[in-house]
């Protein structure tokens, strides 16, 4: 798997970038501009995938305000989902990923946080999506959250469907929601401890059981399958 041929193939694959003119998505540009104007300082950043999707990042304080604006002004009345992302990489790194084990270099566990589209600053980031079924346009919203056990305004007054999603986020990430009508566990039994979707939550079975692939007898078969019978190279 770590043979040099595959790496070369991947590099070639990556280097063939589609050489197209940048498409200007007027509909989404106008939409982002309008949101920016309405939110003022609450608006932080945005990202547009032309003709595909749009991301908007707002401040924690403007979270509820954004929902109201989207619902009332932009007809985004379809509620898709609300969730969160933990951007702090898992401290166990390799232990959690079986497939990493066959890459025998770079064991170093990454601890630096690295954010996705529309950027980020904090460990926890809320992620929500709403959709306008008439104009057929959806928007992904993000908001950075302060602290280890953050608190943010609930969306339930605007989107009642957010109720269960917020309960799920509370239980999976430990993010609580102000003024939520029923902030109790959704899935897990009450005696469950920890927040499973946080990256530092360990999957104990995975650590208890030895990975069967670790006992190695020979090199991984590379591209030259015919020669593997003869390949006597020692590692």
């Amino acid at each position: 798997m770590s043979s040099p041929d595959t790496n070369a193939e991947e590099i070639i694959e990556e280097s063939i970038e589609p050489q197209e003119e940048p498409i200007i998505d007027e509909k989404r540009e106008a939409f982002v501009a309008s949101i920016k104007q309405d939110l003022g300082s609450g608006f932080i950043d945005s990202h547009i995938d032309p003709e595909i999707d749009v991301w908007i990042r707002v401040t924690q304080e403007a979270w509820l305000e954004t929902a109201k604006i989207l619902f009332e002004k932009h007809g985004m009345n379809f509620f898709n989902f609300l969730s969160a992302i933990d951007w702090k990489p898992s401290p166990f790194g390799r232990e959690m990923d079986a497939a990493i084990d066959n890459v025998d270099d770079e064991v170093a566990v990454e601890t630096e946080m690295e954010w996705g589209v529309a950027g980020g600053e904090k460990r926890f980031q809320l992620l929500a999506r709403v959709h306008n079924p008439v104009a057929n346009m959806g928007v992904n919203l993000k908001a950075d959250l302060e602290g280890d056990f953050p608190e943010v305004d609930t969306w339930t007054p605007v989107y009642p469907g957010a109720n269960w999603h917020e309960r799920e986020v509370m239980e999976m990430f430990g993010i609580s929601f102000k003024n939520h009508p029923n902030m109790v566990n959704l899935y897990l039994p009450t005696e469950f401890e920890g927040h499973p979707l946080r990256k530092d939550f360990p999957l104990l079975s995975r650590r208890a059981k030895p990975w069967p692939g670790i006992v190695d007898v020979e090199l991984m078969p590379g591209e030259n399958d015919d020669e593997t019978e003869e390949s006597g190279e020692e590692t």
Partner: protein, 169 residues
């Protein structure tokens, strides 16, 4: 709404069941009389995994790609006589243990798909229930026995460019 309005739909429904009754009586039922007659699963059905032991080089690829970690392989290296006279002795792998835990297996077929040496095949057999959980761990002899039940690959539909494979016997 009197009784007269409420009846036609019911009569129609009864007509459907009556038609089904007639069809069952004349054309026979759908039932497969299981212990005596067995249905034939399709050729690609994923029933149980068979091992063609000669092709296995203990390369561990299947064990690594298995999402359930349910394949256990052990092997050792040995020096085989050179293929050409005067050549160096070749290093080969011998397979000591090849177990698949069918209690844990999720029958996804990733191991069969990733095997670069065509040592693993799907057999449509499905009858291997056990009263003891440990018996569901099939060793390499058992897995080789399943090889007899592996059907040949079927031909492809017209318009396909896929290459027809063959099962080693």
């Amino acid at each position: 709404m009197g009784l007269s309005i409420r009846v036609p739909g019911l009569i129609k429904g009864l007509g459907v069941t009556f038609k089904t009754l007639i069809r069952t009586l004349t054309k026979g039922s759908h039932t497969v009389q299981y212990p005596r007659v067995k249905e034939a699963p399709t050729l690609r059905a994923r029933g149980v995994i068979a091992l063609h032991e000669e092709n296995c080089t203990a390369c561990m690829l299947c064990a690594r790609e298995c999402p359930d970690w349910c394949i256990y392989i052990e092997g050792h290296k040995y020096k085989a006589p050179p293929r050409r006279p005067g050549g160096k002795p070749r290093q080969k792998n011998a397979l000591d243990r090849f177990d698949i835990d069918f209690a844990l297996c999720m029958y996804c077929g990733i191991c069969v798909e990733v095997c670069p040496f065509e040592a693993l095949f799907w057999s449509p057999e499905f009858e291997f229930s056990e009263p003891k959980l440990a018996d569901l761990l099939h060793d390499k002899d058992q897995l080789s026995k399943w090889m007899e039940t592996v059907p040949d690959f079927e031909e492809y539909e017209t318009g396909s460019e896929a290459k027809q494979l063959e099962v080693p016997r």
